[in-house]
């Protein structure tokens, strides 16, 4: 009995977490401030290695005119702070949530590009997640998969 309750809680907790994650981001997306905030990563390299001759790292360059970019030296020995944000307005409200589920939120694409740029510059390649993601399809698993698919485009890295 205890086991079943705990199991339900844990899996329910994940579903809840995902919902909360979506809705909390939704409120943020609604505010103009959040929509225009810079997405940042710090790269453990000097600015001239991050943007040699002003050239953007490949994953960011791919986003072309859709984004604006800033580069500045990080304090101490921490390398370079690289920031980017979409120029086009971010979808808001319900459309925004749907866009996020479909992985179409431009901010997600920017976030992912920043993270990939960092990994590429620091390690020489973009690390790929283990695959296949699962061998056993379950309803709770599907919620997690959905979140996992987008997880690369979320988070601060």
């Amino acid at each position: 009995m205890k086991r079943a309750v705990l199991g339900g809680l844990t899996l329910g907790g994940i579903g809840l977490g995902v919902m909360r994650w979506l809705s909390s981001r939704r409120t943020k997306v609604r505010t103009r401030q959040a929509a225009s905030r810079w997405l940042m990563v710090t790269i453990n390299r000097r600015p001239e290695e991050v943007v040699p001759d002003g050239r953007l790292p490949e994953p960011l360059a791919r986003l072309g005119d859709a984004i604006e970019v800033q580069v500045r030296e990080a304090p101490g020995d921490r390398g370079t702070e690289l920031g980017a944000r979409p120029i086009t307005p971010v979808p808001a409200g319900v459309t925004g949530v749907l866009a996020r589920l479909g992985d179409e939120d431009p901010r997600q694409a920017v976030r992912r590009a920043l993270r990939e740029s960092k990994c590429l510059i620091e390690t020489g390649e973009v690390l790929r997640p283990d695959e296949p993601p699962t061998t056993r399809p379950t309803p709770a698993g599907r919620i997690l998969d959905l979140a996992a698919q987008r997880a690369g485009g979320e988070g601060r890295l």
Binding site: N44, T123, G124, E125, P129, G155, R156
Partner: protein
């Protein structure tokens, strides 16, 4: 290949799953020879670690042979006998360069989960939920090892597989606790927990020069093992008031360094324990910090507390006042294995660190669910069950 999969709370099964492939040029595929249970897996089994998915392969403390390498692998070749750190580090981000490997920026490809839970993404760990990257674990015949040049270490000739195995996770975790807590010659050190991690922490404290080490648990066989192989004093927390006993043994000061190697499923002797258990069961809190609380109360003024035990979320009744007013330094981490493994292999080779006694039970991978049952319920004196995927 065969692998042990988490199927739900307290549900494990051995399944046939696809073989891993090289996905990055710095990957290797390791053929697993030995892989062992860890207290951290019990937290997965109990359902306390979020973002586990039915079918996830678990296991993270292992040793094996490299059978395939990516085109950019420089320090390893096919045929190498290696022990692999349980956490994954890229070796080149700011954290890895500062020897804080479990905080690696690049080894977790699913940073959103930890970012949501903890405010920052944490590094990757094998077989330890999607919060730490969703990597497949080592309780399998093969495993993909990303950034293998940094995470895998050549086992010196003359060191047995079973001796080297525990330098993957439990030994470096214990060593980190004693090292980063700042154990110095002359210190009195108390260690909560006589599992593999606690035993390794106690041994590390002795090797770092502690004058006296006192280990705490309730299982007679674990206490006896600690006395015999670690060579320190022990206390049974069900038979004595730990805080008073430690005061008496330290001239009223309290230990200089307190290391907690118990984690979120801590047991207790008193009423407070029942309160914690009830809250955990009702889902009102995730973690039971019983040993952490005791360590903070016991520690001398301006002393140092290191939390090695794993916690997942929020705790209740954390003695912030004691910590603040006594001027304690409290530190914690998932283990920075890469920082310590070469030194530990060396100590094992010289016979100064004994580890093989931790492997109380060895069995084929097919019997892993039974192994976990023994390990979880401390049956037959089980301290670590070791699986042989090819037996």
């Amino acid at each position: 290949m065969k692998a042990l999969c988490w199927q739900g709370v307290n549900e494990l099964s051995v399944e046939h799953v696809p073989d891993p492939r090289i996905l990055n040029a710095q990957d290797a595929i390791v053929k697993v020879k030995l892989t062992t249970t860890c207290g951290s897996d019990l937290h997965l089994l109990g359902g306390y670690i979020p973002a586990m998915r039915a079918g996830d392969v678990i296991g993270h403390e292992f040793l094996g042979e490299i059978v395939e390498v990516g085109t950019e692998v420089r320090r390893h070749k096919v045929g190498d006998r290696v022990v692999v750190a349980s956490i994954i580090g890229c070796g080149r981000c700011w954290y890895c360069e500062n020897d804080l490997w479990s905080a690696c920026d690049n080894s977790n490809t699913k940073p959103a989960f930890a970012d949501m839970l903890y405010g920052q993404p944490i590094g990757g760990i094998y077989g330890y939920s999607h919060v730490t990257g969703g990597y497949k674990g080592s309780h399998a015949q093969y495993i993909r090892v990303p950034f293998v040049d940094y995470g895998a270490f050549h086992v010196p000739d003359g060191v047995d597989d079973m001796d080297a195995l525990f330098t993957s996770d439990s030994a470096p975790t214990g060593w980190m606790g004693a090292d980063l807590a700042g154990v110095r010659p002359g210190d009195v050190v108390a260690v909560w927990g006589c599992g593999a991690v606690g035993q390794m922490a106690a041994r590390a404290a002795m090797l770092l020069g502690a004058e006296r080490v006192i280990s705490i648990d309730r299982y007679p066989e674990r206490l006896a093992m600690t006395e015999r192989y670690v060579g320190c004093e022990t206390l049974d927390y069900t038979r004595t008031d730990i805080i008073e006993e430690l005061k008496e043994r330290t001239g009223g000061r309290g230990p200089d360094v307190c290391i907690e190697a118990v984690g979120l499923e801590a047991e207790g002797a008193g009423r407070r324990h029942l309160y914690d258990k009830a809250k955990q069961r009702l889902g009102m809190t995730l973690d039971r910090p019983i040993a952490v609380r005791e360590a903070i109360y016991a520690c001398r003024k301006a002393g140092s507390v290191f939390i090695l035990g794993v916690f997942a979320g929020l705790v209740d009744k954390f003695p912030l006042g004691a910590m603040m007013n006594k001027g304690l330094t409290v530190r914690s981490a998932q283990q920075h294995g890469q920082r310590y493994i070469p030194k530990l292999l060396d100590l094992v080779a010289r016979g100064e660190l004994r580890t093989a006694h931790l492997a109380t039970h060895t069995m084929p991978l097919d019997q892993a669910p039974r192994g976990y049952d023994m390990f979880k319920n401390k049956k037959d004196g089980c301290v670590r069950a070791v699986f042989r995927p090819w037996a």
